[in-house]
Every structure is written in structure tokens, then in C-alpha cells.
Symmetry: C2
Subunit: 352 residues, 2 copies
């Protein structure tokens, strides 16, 4: 499939296409044939370029806003550009991120090790201010984190505060209703029990295996333990974790958002967290940096935008997602590298 595209276009067409895309990314004016010849010195006249561009349009890589305007890349055109980017990258002149930046940023993240949400805020802020696009971080899904311990504290007569610690240092707390008869000692016993049973397992395992087993065997256990199950289940129904977003306002400067309505849609989509979360989760099944361009995007609200995602991990276990959303006319080479670099820094931080 990809090979096809590279076969259909000869060397020359490919260079012209990439030149048009690059130029358009640089400044959002339709690109004319004369401009291409002048700026990127091919050995051909504008008439020849004109023919090539006409062919590229017929093949769907470029389009004209109107007769006698220059050409603008289509989503397909951007797709070709992005694909050839990663080809180039493998072979030659990829932009290198200065090792110094990586060092410095990693050190910065280390400072936030004790406060994971502050760390994620730092990540989105950095990413959006470097790129001027919208950056999003999804924190690790609860199911992927490892149970460290739970504590139960009696709070007012009929309430319990449940505090769950994970190995990753993520703390969930929740006030739950409970039988007023339960004393702090009872709670301690319940917590001890859960800690012994669950320690070292991921929350996912706990939900799927352990809890099932315990429920089956419930009859054998005393009343306190059946309470433990109920309490744990209540404590575990936390609201879907917050997502970290930054940079929505930087988009306002881009000419494609002078309209505002796109921006509204995006902000709405972000507010409806689950839309974004689902998309990003699906996107990130595969390895490395993923790019979705314009209409490739399954979410209607984002059809006019491009999304770049990557997954950060602890060792080999996937944890969460880092994403960058911008106009289709996005500086892909820069954006991809930034997402990639930042993701690696975050992964590294989780490793030690």
C-alpha cells in the first residue's frame, strides 16, 4: 500500500509535492508554480512544474481553492509528506534534539516525582509552549497501575475515607458511605486483609481475578471480609482520571482559527473527555509515534485537525498517552520529534 504511493510518483513529482507541502506549512498561502521554481531551485521552468502540479491535483494530493489560485495540500498530500518524512528520518537528515535539552527536561521532571499531576501539568505546558499546539496528557489508566496499599480512615460517623496508593505513586482518595457501626479497628482489619491479598497486583488483575475469586469463596469468609469487598468496590469507582490539557489559546493565533468555530468544536471535544480519551486510546495501540491527519480522524469534531500521539511506558508496560493536536497544516517534522522526545523523557522518569 505505502509502496504503491511511492511507485505512482516519480522522484520529481515527489520532490515537488513535498516542496508544496513544506512551503504551505511555512506560510498558509496557496503555492504557485512560479514560487516553487524560484524558492526550491529545480532545474525546470514554471510551466513544467505547472504540469506536474496539475497531475498531483488529479491524483488528489493537491487542490485549488479556486481556478487561478495556487495549490494547497489535501489530507492525502500531507499524508504523503508525513510518510516520506519518516522515510527520510531512517536514512538521513533527521533533526536532532540536542542531548542537552533531554538532560535538562528529564532533570526537571525528576523534581516532580513526588507529585505526579504536577508532573503532567509540566509536560503539557512544555509541549504546548514549544509547539504552540494543543497538548494533552492522559495519565496512566488506573487499571494499569499496581496496588501498593489501601488505608481506610473513619471520617464522621457514617463516612470512610479510602486512600489507595499505587507503586507508581499515584494516590486516589475517595469518601465513601458506610455502616456507622464499623469502628476504626474494623477498618484496620479490612485494610490489612486487602493489603495482604492485593499487594503487587495491578488493579486490573484485582478486578478480574482476585475479586471474582473472593466473591465465589465469600461464603467461607466472615462478615468483615464481605464488607471488605464492598468497600473496595466503592473505593474503586473513581471518576475517570483528569486529563491534562494546555495550549488551546495558542491556537487562536493561527490563521486557520480566525474563524473560531473550529476552536469551539475542539474545546467542546476536550470537555467531553471521553471522546478524546477513546480516540487516543485506540490510536496508541501500536508502537512509536502515531499521526492522524484531518479526515483520517474518526472523531467528527477533529476532522479538520491533525493528532499526533505517543505512549509512555514503565519498562514495557504501557501507561498513558501524550498527544499534540494542531491544524492539518501543522509542522509535522517538528511536532513528531517533540512528541517523541517528550514521551521518552516521561518514560525514563517512570523507570527509576
Amino acid at each position: 500500500m505505502e509502496r504503491d504511493i511511492f511507485d505512482i510518483l516519480d522522484e520529481r513529482s515527489r520532490r515537488v509535492l513535498n516542496a508544496v507541502v513544506r512551503s504551505y506549512i511555512d506560510r498558509p498561502d496557496p503555492v504557485g508554480s512560479r514560487f516553487v521554481t524560484r524558492k526550491y531551485s529545480f532545474g525546470f521552468s514554471s510551466a513544467t512544474i505547472r504540469n506536474i502540479m496539475s497531475d498531483l491535483e488529479e491524483m488528489g494530493f493537491l487542490s485549488q481553492p479556486h481556478t487561478s489560485a495556487g495549490r494547497v495540500p489535501t489530507d492525502k498530500g500531507y499524508r504523503f509528506y508525513v510518510d516520506s518524512l519518516s522515510n527520510e528520518a531512517q536514512s538521513e537528515k533527521i533533526i536532532e534534539v540536542p542531548e542537552e535539552f533531554i538532560q535538562q527536561f528529564s532533570r526537571r521532571l525528576d523534581e516532580f516525582k513526588n507529585d505526579i499531576s504536577a508532573m503532567f501539568s509540566e509536560v503539557t505546558n512544555t509541549l504546548s509552549s514549544l509547539s504552540n499546539y494543543v497538548s494533552i496528557v492522559l495519565p496512566p489508566k488506573a487499571e494499569n497501575t499496581t496496588f501498593n496499599r489501601i488505608d481506610l480512615i473513619k471520617f464522621k460517623s457514617d463516612q470512610i475515607v479510602a486512600i489507595l496508593l499505587t507503586d507508581e505513586g499515584i494516590i486516589h482518595n475517595k469518601v465513601i458511605q458506610a455502616d456507622p457501626m464499623l469502628k476504626q479497628e474494623d477498618l484496620n482489619r479490612i485494610a490489612d486483609f486487602l493489603n495482604v491479598e492485593f499487594s503487587g497486583h495491578t488493579l486490573d488483575e484485582i478486578n478480574n481475578m482476585l475479586m471474582q475469586r473472593m466473591k465465589r469463596e465469600k461464603a467461607q469468609w466472615d462478615r468483615l471480609i464481605s464488607r471488605a469487598i464492598s468497600i473496595y468496590e466503592q473505593a474503586m469507582t473513581f471518576a475517570e482520571g483528569d486529563i491534562f490539557v494546555s495550549g488551546l489559546y495558542d491556537l487562536m493565533d493561527l490563521p486557520e482559527f480566525s474563524d473560531i468555530s473550529k476552536l469551539r468544536e475542539l474545546s467542546k471535544a476536550i470537555k467531553e473527555k471521553h471522546v478524546i480519551m477513546k480516540l487516543l486510546a485506540e490510536l496508541s495501540h501500536s508502537e512509536g509515534v502515531q499521526v492522524l491527519i484531518g479526515t483520517e480522524n474518526p472523531v467528527t469534531e477533529l476532522k479538520g485537525l491533525s493528532v499526533i500521539t505517543s505512549m509512555y511506558k514503565e519498562g514495557s508496560r504501557p501507561m498513558g498517552i501524550i498527544a499534540l493536536i494542531g491544524p492539518t497544516r501543522m509542522d509535522y517534522s517538528k511536532a513528531i520529534i517533540m512528541v517523541d522526545t517528550i514521551t521518552k523523557c516521561v518514560s525514563r522518569t517512570f523507570e527509576d
Copy 2:
């Protein structure tokens, strides 16, 4: 001072001024003399109204975008309108909020009693979607909340998780570094000590009085207690609480924001939380609903906007602030009542 204004303007001028303001709030077109006579049937011809409006302009209540346009209220004009609103309110036809809404909203808030941030999100969302302006909630300042208990949990070898509960149901947690030699039992003793000493005091009192006293008397206490002080101090340095914001995007629909640059400034100001927080804190020293109109506003970023604030309380103790930010051409009567009502609902929720 206020009396002055009411003295300067005779009954008729006041009525005309209020008519112009109301009309302009209704639709953002400069208001002409003819329009005033037709819409608000005074017993005078347009020529008379013209003279009055001319006087009002000279006095600074109205202004003309250009010769031969209608008139537009100045900030001073809005101020007069708002002041006469509250006068009216005391005497007669204030818009009543249906008791049913209050009941319903209060019940809704009760559902969130166990999750205070969810509750504040609900408040901002409701307020902004009712008003179509930006709503902001400042959560209770930490210093104003009452210590309920602290728990210290050993986590990894050199880290402690400190969990602080307040009577208001607000939970702070923080991972702090600590001497690896400290065992869980030691932590329990430290926590017990702090709980006995601090329980029932506000964090403010604790910082000011108790901690000072303890430090002075430190010599008399054993080593563990001096550790307790250090741990408590670390645990207490939490990041300034989040502020809850909603409705920035609804503003985009208003004609005065077609420009976008105002919106950018506002969003920047909100991002710089402390700017907003300081303003709101200062504003809300006094009782009831406060209104700042346009240039009355000390914060430059908000000079073109109006701010309405009110304070929610637990009994008589001030807790946090609810605010609404919109254009100077804001529907003050509606906005003031909404802020007032919602504030009362929140206060009520904290009371029981």
C-alpha cells in the same frame, strides 16, 4: 457619594439612562433617541430625549461611537444602572428565582458532598451554562479549613505519604521525603500526636499559634516530636488549590469577542491563577454580591470586562469565592441574581 449621582440626575434623566443601558444590553447597537421614544414610551418627542441624552453624554454616562450614531453606555453609565438596580431591588420588582430551582440545585449539590471538587465543577458548569459568561470558583483557602486528622503512611523506603483530612471533607495528600529509618510505628506515633494537638483548629491557627508554641517548647519534647513538626510542615506546603473555571468558550459567541484578543487576555489572566485569585480575594472582603465594571477593575487584563463576585460561607466563616466574568455589556440584573442564588446554595450545602 452615591446620593450625589442620584441628585445630579432628575427622575427623567435617570429613566432615559436606564432605558439606554437596558436596550444596549439587549442588543449591542448604539441607541438612538427615536428608538428610545418608541420602545420605552416616555411622554416626550425624540427631540427632547435627544437633549437629555446629550446632557447624559456631557456628564459621562453615555458616549457616541461617532457623530451621528446613537449612544452607548460608558462604564459610569453601567455603574449607575447597577446601583439603581439594587435600589429597585430593595423597593420592588426584583426578579425572583423560583424556589423550585433552589431546591433542585441544592439537592444536586448534596449528591456531590463526598467529592468536593466534583461539586465545584458542577457549580461552575451550572453557572456558566445558565449565564453564558465565564464562571470561576475559588475553593476554600486551606487556611480556613479545619484540621480533622492526619495520617502518615510509609511508602517505599524513603518516602512518606501524608494525608490530611479537614472537617469540610477536603483531602490533601502529598508524598514527602523522610528519614528511611522511620518505621510505620514511628509514623503512627507522630500522627497520633499531631491529631491530638491540632484537632478542631483551623490550619491557620495551627500555623500561627500551635506550631510557634511547639517550636518554642521543642527543647522539652523528644526527638520524634521535632520530626513531627518537620513532617507537618512539609505536608502543609501544598500547591495553591486549583481554581475551577468554565464557560470561556461561550464568550466566543458574543459580538464583543469577535476580535478574540480580549478572549486571549482573559484566558491568560486565568492561567496566571494568582492574578485572578488576588483580585477575587480583595474584592470579596465585604458582604454580599460585589460588582466591578470595566475600568473599575484593577487588573489590566480585565479592564474591558465586568466581574461579579460573592463569597460562600460555612455559617459565618468565609470559605471561598464564586465569580462571574463577562463583557461590560453584561446582563447585570440576571447575573447578579444568579451569582447570589448559587452562592447561597453552596453555603447551605456546607452548613449541613
